[in-house]
């Protein structure tokens, strides 16, 4: 079963614009992660935020976590064509990662 739900399902923007995608989950978490997937290939780990953290940055990525609302957001600033991919949030259930359905981001030049 899917733990997280990303919103929107699809997002189209121009290069240079910011992209924001959201994730909601159902149960308590220890941490939440974001992954990127290019063209149906392997997943690339982007960032992990722990349940006691509210915000985390990594390069052009900014992740927020609101445990009271069971939601997280991923902001990609100054988007590039190379950011075109599917983005997934994942929560951990001890040995398993539980993924949402993902947001497909398309960045056009």
């Amino acid at each position: 079963s899917q733990q997280g739900e990303e919103d929107p399902q699809a997002l189209s923007i121009q290069e240079g614009e910011n992209a924001t995608m959201n994730c909601s989950y159902k149960t308590s978490i220890n941490n939440l992660q974001w992954y990127r997937q290019n063209s149906g290939r392997g997943l690339v780990h982007l960032i992990l935020i722990r349940s006691n953290e509210r915000e985390k940055h990594s390069g052009r990525l900014r992740v927020t976590l609101d445990t009271s609302k069971k939601s997280s957001s991923l902001l990609i600033t100054a988007s590039r064509a190379a950011d075109t991919a599917s983005y997934f949030c994942a929560t951990d259930a001890w040995t398993a990662l539980i993924f949402g359905k993902g947001t497909t981001l398309s960045v056009s030049s």
Binding site: Y35, G40, G42, D92, A93, T95, A96, L97, G100, K101
Partner: protein
Amino acid sequence: DAGVTQSPTHLIKTRGQQVTLRCSPISGHKSVSWYQQVLGQGPQFIFQYYEKEERGRGNFPDRFSARQFPNYSSELNVNALLLGDSALYLCASSHRDRSYEQYFGPGTRLTVT
């Protein structure tokens, strides 16, 4: 260092057949997990192995089985293939048996006809 490797890259099988997928983890990683990703969905957890023992199992039928070898590589076996088994099968490795900080391979695309 080499990342997680998987073989084969693509595979076409017929309903009822059996398939074996292979995964080599990152050097030094003792845990391997398997995920199934059908088109348009997020990956779904199948198994985790740590130190050659099964540590977790997702909601998949007994037709799915796996094992881990002394060198920490792993095989996923699927018997009596169904059309619905067509998917991208992803392998991930990590240092420990916890699920965070997993590193994924490129996947094996299985098509069942």
